[in-house]
Amino acid sequence: MTATPVTQVPTRPARARRVPLAAAGRLLRLELRRNVMLWMLPIVAALFWLITYRPAMAYPPLWNVRAMTMQTTALAIFVPTVVGVAAWLASREARHGMTDLLSGTSRPRWARQLATWAATTCWALVAYLGCVAVLYAVTARQGAWGGPLWWPAAVGAASLPAFSALGFAAGALRPSRFTTPLVAVAAFLALELTAQFIHGDHSPWQVSPLVAGPWENGADPGVATFYPYLPDLPIVQLIFLTGLTTALLGVLGLPAGSGGRRLRRSAAALTTAGLLAAITATTLAGTGRLDPRGMIAIPALHNPADNRPVPYTPVCSDTPIPICVHPAYSVHLPTVTAALEPVLSELAGLPDAPVRINQTAATYRQESGNGVSISRAGPAMSDTPPTLHILLPIQLARPVATDVLTAELWTNTARDILYNVIGGDRREKTEAQQAVAEAILKTSTLPPGTRTAAAAQRFAALSPAARHAWLTSHVAALRAGQITLAELP
């Protein structure tokens, strides 16, 4: 046995500190090059086009509708794919029978796993952000009013690391050829289940990243236009997703063999912190309430500044009585004008007729279950100058096609405008008022053969000038209910 002279190895602290990071970078680069998610990108892009992009383009260019729909549908596409890929990659070491061999490497298993997870997440994020960028760019080019809504995109992006971690944890802890398909389908089922459990605005299940607004309200063109997009629920969802990601990544470091004792303690601390964050977020989501402006508000996070309306310059039509709409809805103005112009021509110049019709904001109220009632905010008429405030049918939580919009404008909005001028404040309309409305709207809702229907036909047969002249002199009495059917010309 000889004594080996001890030689002092020169140390280079600066370089020594850089080496682990450089090695981690190389590992990540390798994982990025060999990641299965890369091969899934065409599938994901095709599904995004079919399920998200194509239907979104069928909606009018409204940021709220397109962004909120995208949050839900894009997640349904990305989640099973990302979970499946992550589970598949997590079981790679076991599949190759290399678990024992790799346990002798200088890097702890947790570090290797994190590199694979990070690479999967990176590709998923690249795909997601690319899809979002295309959708938003096209929407912007179509002239959508206001700016893009980033919160729905942020929630979607934050979901990917979380679901990637979920798949990765499942694949790493239970490596099997059946883990990947089962966990991918189970993740999809879990997403759908969370949506099923939402009952009302106080449901903690709203923490699900699928939820962009009051559940079952669908793509609602009425929210986030007159008032800002409330970030309360997205913030809670982001906290939840961050917590979930942290907890799941921590779980990966818990098993024996993941690393040294210190590393496993750190993993346990991460898991605990992540779980606490997720529980806190879920609890906060349970305190939500439907804001009168149509979004979910969380009292602990709510900023009163978000209650202030967004200033805008209305876009008005060139009709006898101008119709002014919010610029976000200006794409509908030609349809609205074409549908209402015949009625407005009859009413223009009548005593106490409005000189302008304004589109107004809707007010929302939670009903039992997931029901939401939507009505006009504020009174129908305001004075100086007499202005009528209306809700467009598209503000009733359902985007409608142009032909349906025209029909609804004629049957509902035009009738409301007409009754505001000739009907007065009474709920029950007199027979004369019904006959005049029927004649002007050229509808046939009255029972045929009745005196009212006959009077309506008689009044409709008059020339527009004669009708207008009669209305000018008798509208006050008609509104007061003092005109009988016999007195109609």
């Binding site: 299965v36 091969w39 899934m40 599938i43 599904l47 079919l50 399920i51 239907p55 069928a58 549908t73 349904a76 596409i77 099973p80 794919t81 499946g84 598949w88 079981s91 790679r92 076991a94 599949r95 190759h96 029978g97 490596p175 099997s176 050829r177 059946f178 990947t180 398909p181 089962l182 991918a184 389908v185 189970a186 999809f188 089922l189 759908e192 289940l193 099923q196 669908g218």
Partner: protein
């Protein structure tokens, strides 16, 4: 499993045939697949206890059918690869038998899970959707390899769920190639699903799952 066992059982030896079949089934993890199918059926049964809206009730069985189909497709991955292809004379029959048995088991389990509960679409819907999804999974195995068999049934599941959604929020997707969105008695949808199933079975029997070139297929 030896090459001799995989190749040709001694004539008239039922015991050897059974042993060959058993070895083939265990090499494809069929017992684990049956357990996974049973888990899907039990989960469906539990889920059917809840009250679902019309859309949820339609998509619920479909999700479990897709899960079963993906599991069945995952059994196609061979742990032996080329040597088995070269020596396995009975391989096409074994592959066909395995896929048919698992499909029948999955259909039986899912229908049994829905017995006495409100299973949207009924047994006919389960049979059609499952057969079509299994066909898609087997075709995917032949094209992409056993490792990625789950991708096609999962992607088809998303398309089918979206097609169901369009029945409420049009324009509805009504092509029979998206058969889960068609009524159970729709002949065109049944034909499409049947065609995909037969093609998938044929591809699986004749070719099996494509061997991965850069890694050993999943043997666990």
């Amino acid at each position: 499993m030896t090459a001799a066992a995989a190749g040709k059982p001694p004539a008239g030896s039922a015991h050897a045939g059974l042993r060959l079949a058993w070895l083939h089934l265990t090499s494809r993890r069929v017992p684990a697949a049956l357990a996974a199918i049973a888990v899907c059926a039990v989960a469906l049964r539990i889920a059917l206890h809840w009250q679902w809206n019309a859309y949820g009730a339609l998509q619920l069985p479909l999700i479990f059918e897709a899960g079963c189909a993906a599991v069945i497709a995952a059994t196609t991955a061979s742990p032996f690869g080329e040597p088995e292809r070269a020596t396995g004379r009975w391989l096409p029959l074994l592959r066909l038998g395995t896929a048919l048995t698992l499909t029948a088991a999955a259909a039986g389990a899912l229908v049994a899970a829905g017995t006495g509960a409100h299973l949207a679409g009924g047994a006919l819907d389960v049979l059609r959707n499952l057969a079509g999804l299994v066909g898609i999974g087997l075709l995917c195995a032949a094209l992409l390899g056993g490792a990625l068999t789950w991708t096609a049934p999962t992607a088809y599941l998303m398309i089918a769920i979206y097609a169901l959604y369009t029945q409420w929020h049009g324009p509805a997707l009504t092509t029979p190639w998206i058969w889960p969105a068609r009524p159970p008695h729709d002949i065109g949808a049944a034909l499409c699903a049947g065609l995909v199933f037969i093609t998938g079975m044929a591809a699986n029997a004749l070719c099996g799952a494509r061997d991965a070139t850069n890694e050993r297929p999943g043997s666990r």
